[in-house]
Symmetry: C2
Subunit: 403 residues, 2 copies
């Protein structure tokens, strides 16, 4: 098999941790697999360089930031290559450029446009382990080094796995897979063996921070089998994120997610003229505010009430937008003492009664649901924040996720 | 004018020092000059990375060491570029690759084969200050990053100045030029305004550590006007190292050099067969021992005595070589309590009595000369180490170098 392995900053954070990663790679190699490892900068290095740059400028030149920040991954790739060499393994480090990664021209948050895999294929055919400096490529036009922004090393690994048609892309972090819910909230949470891309996307956007949506979306698009596992306990199998068709027994519910970083916005007594809701939500979208759950209620007085949630970080900018509608609104209020609990599972599509089980479970605990929104594979509910953990445990229990 | 400026590790050792370098560059730019700055890694960074690598391997892969070590200069070039940008100057950093530096394929001690200046010329024509990451290029064949070994950033600067036909190449260190002798030994030592390449080469090989011979040799070959000056006192003019023809008034003696890192080897009672000396010195050369001053005396008993000096670092290997001649040698001894003082000056060629003045000066101080060797522009003398400083001062005085 051809395996792409990705090791994040914590996994390569010290010289001992790099040694540990070398051992993981050796074991996989010794089983007869071809290996492309993608590495991040040692944890702390990138932040140090950012601080250096910010001591010179509040708004440092993007192309120079890329020259600066891309160095950390190069260092890790060389060090990992050296320790594998020392133990008798043929390796070669590769910068993003050498790995053939071409991006668009947007420095510090570039998107991968294409990957020329010829250099990597040649090294693999020569029996070499490849260690790629993650998070970087070169721009299409000027061929200057570019970086991919947050989660860039995961993206590098997934994109390489897709381009070179690897059998699997294993993302190593400090957690050993995807759980039915956060084990710090529900100790009975179980690690999932398999989960579909769509379920993972829902869980990730709802606060499971193991994998970022950008990477999961790319894995889905490129049909890459993704595995989330831990470099601290490499003997544990991890969770496979794959196509729904690859999952034989589809569970009705895969997991319960919790997101506390939301606030509820209420716009009450809005003049009910045609298109008013659309006008407001267009204005919010133009301000790049990620509006999530929306409930619209038309009152008997011919006025409309709008309820929706936004990420806490968008609070200030949201206030500015709602302010522009103050002549058409009776009252606007904000509530940050709420949270969103979600039930996620592909099996919902073909099962009835999934939602009512959730409502019953919360009702049994006397938890009021303020807003509900559903998709094909998800039911999200806004409840008071003080009930967050209780709600998660009640739902986990209701769907027997500990079994 | 087009000026190439080189700043070493101490000159860019902290963020404040980088700010200081930016100020030097700004002043030169504001005078209307085009600028290419070549920078080293921040002092300490390269050693840290070497330690990291050595914790994994006693003999780390050369190509991976280059991937590792080249990162330090990239960081400095980006940071310096960012601070210049912030102050309104158009700049661009360049890696060795971007600066067009092609080397041979010998990783960690590559030699520059050629420089494609088109990228630099374009940036200059766009009015940009260029900040090149020193010490690196890419190999001819595999186009992998390579490093140039000790003094590599100086070499980068000189090679670029030669290739792009810069008017001057200024090497900034923590000393403000070349002195008639080491001011710590002779406080009356004076800074030289100008010195020829050949004199500089003699002084450098004799212990003046400001510039390395590899760089001076390249400057001579490429006809680059080199200036040694200080980034700590940029208002001081420094010393110009140039062609002999460019120096109008050629001083008889330019400086006095001292080298304490030599030992004297005596091989006594060597069988005087034809070619014996040649055999011995060939064996020493094959062992890469840098034999310097040689005196051969044939005794009346048909035996030969050989006296020569070698660098202290070659002592162990030299013992092994002389051991192979033990059947043909009565006795071998080593003396590390000696030093070499040298009088250097292009004017010697056309002046008589220069040597006798040196011998008289030392005789007046009752200093015995053990070995003498002369070249067109240099007289070197081996004396007991305890007289080192006294000899330097006596010679400095004899040639009125404080005037």
């Amino acid at each position: 098999m051809l395996k792409v392995l990705k090791f994040g900053g914590t996994s390569v954070g010290t010289l001992d941790r790099i040694r540990n990663v070398a051992n993981i790679i050796k074991d996989i190699r010794d089983e007869g697999h071809d290996v492309i490892a993608v590495v991040s900068a040692m944890s702390g290095e990138t932040n140090k360089l950012i601080e250096y740059a910010q001591s010179f400028s509040n708004n440092p030149t993007a192309s120079e930031m890329d020259m600066l920040l891309s160095s950390g991954e190069r260092v890790t790739s060389a060090l990992l290559s050296i320790t594998l060499n020392e133990q008798g393994y043929e390796t070669t480090s590769m910068s993003g450029r050498e790995a053939g990664i071409i991006t668009d021209n947007v420095h510090t948050k570039a998107r991968i446009e294409s990957i020329d895999t010829s250099n990597m294929k040649k090294a693999i055919s020569e029996g070499k382990i490849i260690v790629v400096a993650g998070f970087q490529g070169v721009t299409q036009d000027s061929k200057r080094v570019s970086t991919l922004g947050r989660g860039g090393s995961d993206l590098t690994a997934v994109a390489i796995a897709g381009a070179i048609k690897a059998d699997v892309c294993e993302i190593y972090t400090d957690v050993d897979g995807i759980y039915t819910t956060d084990p710090r909230i529900e100790p009975k949470a179980k690690k999932l063996d398999k989960i579909s891309y769509d379920e993972m996307l829902e869980l990730a956007s709802l606060g499971a921070k193991v994998l970022q949506n950008r990477s999961v979306e790319m894995a889905k698009k490129l049909n890459v089998n993704l595995v989330s596992r831990s470099s601290f306990t490499p003997e544990v199998e991890g969770t496979l994120i794959t196509k729904e068709e690859n999952i034989m027994e589809k569970p009705v519910v895969s997991g319960i997610a919790l997101d506390k970083n939301q606030i509820r916005v209420g716009m009450y007594g809005v003049t009910d003229r045609p298109g008013i809701a659309s006008t407001i939500f267009t204005a919010l979208a133009d301000a790049k505010i990620n509006v999530d759950m929306i409930v619209q209620t038309v009152g008997v007085d011919g006025k409309t009430d709008l309820d929706f949630t936004i990420p806490t970080t968008d609070w200030e900018i949201c206030k500015k937008v709602t302010e522009t509608f103050k002549d058409e609104t009776k009252k606007v209020d904000y509530n940050d003492k709420i949270c969103k609990v979600s039930v996620v599972g592909v099996g919902m599509k073909s099962n009835t009664g999934v939602a009512s089980k959730a409502f019953t479970a919360l009702a049994n605990e006397n938890i009021n649901i303020r807003i509900i929104s559903t998709s094909e594979i998800k039911i999200s509910m806004i409840v008071e924040e003080k009930y967050a953990e209780l709600a998660v445990r009640a739902l986990h229990d209701a769907y027997n996720l500990d079994k």
